[in-house]
Symmetry: C2
Subunit: 271 residues, 2 copies
């Protein structure tokens, strides 16, 4: 998918919402557990109910891998369902991959070919040649971890290298790599104050912002400090939407929460 299509969808839907499918059998409504594939059954209903409000859908691979082969089956069914029925939605494999070039090439094949995702989250620790195989694919997008929303972000990411925080060094360095126009960055919403500084380094890139909702970030702050002239934000909510109810009304409850967030977003977009 081209970035221009994402920007167009943001304008059409008046939304920059990303819905995260962190689907966990212990949290989905119990009546779904008798389905042949409870995880896919859950995802399908969530997607159908909220697709008109979502610019992006992010699938957190860990939740699927935890169920072994069957989890990978549910993952594949989910991404294929989205691509078939809602091809305008930007899909994200939240997989935090990254390895030596020869191996990253296989991960790119896994998430860009075997599974038809538009993008994947990637860890920066192993440097340029570990990211290059993801960046080399046209119309696919690499979402590099920059500053994450968890407490551990302060262990290394905010440590200073020659007077500059590691996450800034990562962003500056990565933004000079070949095909960096296909790069997006993960910036946690709990660190909204950092966003204006990040924008001074990468004014044009899209940012994937987790941490609004369950993790405590503020949407207004993220928009104020993080948006650019084409919005440039995908703000993710996972648990707050998909687990809004654990009863049979879970899909309409998810819709209600997503609608509230989209209303807020529409207001911010027209300010």
């Amino acid at each position: 998918m081209k970035i221009a299509s994402v920007v167009e969808q943001i304008q059409i839907k008046k939304s920059f919402l990303c819905i995260g499918l962190d689907t966990d059998k212990d949290k989905i409504p119990s009546h779904l557990l008798s389905e042949e594939d409870p995880i896919f059954a859950f995802n399908k209903q969530i997607i159908d109910a909220t697709q008109h409000l979502a610019i992006a859908i992010k699938i957190n691979t860990a939740f699927y891998e935890a169920y072994g082969v069957q989890g990978w089956v549910s993952l594949e069914k989910t991404i294929r369902y989205i691509k078939e029925h809602y091809p305008d939605i930007f899909t994200i494999a939240d997989a935090k991959r990254g390895d030596i070039g020869n191996t990253s090439l296989r991960y790119a094949k896994a998430f860009y070919e075997a599974l038809p995702f538009d993008s994947i989250t990637v860890a920066p620790y192993m440097g340029e040649d570990s990211v290059a195989p993801f960046l080399s694919v046209e119309d696919k997008h690499t979402i590099l971890l920059a500053l994450t929303s968890n407490k551990g972000a302060f262990d290394f990411q905010t440590q200073k290298i020659a007077g500059k925080e590691l996450y800034k060094t990562v962003i500056e360095t990565a933004s000079s790599w070949e095909h960096s126009d296909r790069m997006m960055y993960v910036v946690g919403a709990t660190k909204a104050a950092f966003l204006s500084e990040i924008r001074s380094v990468i004014p044009d890139s899209f940012l994937l912002v987790p941490g609004v909702g369950a993790q405590g970030g503020s949407l207004e702050e993220v928009y104020r400090y993080g948006s650019n002239d084409r919005v440039g934000l995908l703000v993710n909510s996972s648990r707050g939407i998909i687990y809004a109810s654990d009863q049979k009304d879970f899909a309409s409850a998810a819709l209600d929460v997503a609608q509230k967030i989209q209303n807020q977003m529409a207001k911010l977009l027209t300010c």
Copy 2:
């Protein structure tokens, strides 16, 4: 598996060899492609031929994920086969995972429960709470990326934070975390000169050393600078062993290469 068992196996087998199953359908002998599961058929023969020389087997998950669901099936069959037939072999999921705590918990479930690995490689970028869920499991081992064998290692890992390289900061910080006695570290063999410095920080930990062979590192140097009083090394070779021949004799060719490496290791161990 307990570390004491790994140390005991090193003494029994006079080896500290880890064999990496980076299994690629484009590289395995063509006669296997007619098998129902060519990747598992290849792995099984490699494992059977070399198991008496290997202390550890490392499965590079990227190569399996590249084949989608069927790849995950081959991965599961391979790890179960090793556990059933060769329970003394230390198994490594070379998966380079790591995410916020809630998600890392799922990855730990994926590789310690759904798949019965003894250990998993983990990226440090997201800090302590991203690694803690892996460390919290008894008799399982977290292998943290410290200094990798690729060119990109110089992008961030060797950059200095307050006068100290990032990889050293990672090792020092991580070695203070709870249950760090369950931690091992990835240190690329192409950086053997760095090993003695690393040993001054973590004298007792095991190091997983990729990069001997295809990536150009020297076994003697790794042993000289990296070993400790219980050896403390798992030296990996992947392509050099498993692709020693692309003909029907591939398993015996793999055995020959593994035997040569083990002979070298036995010599080093008795020096």
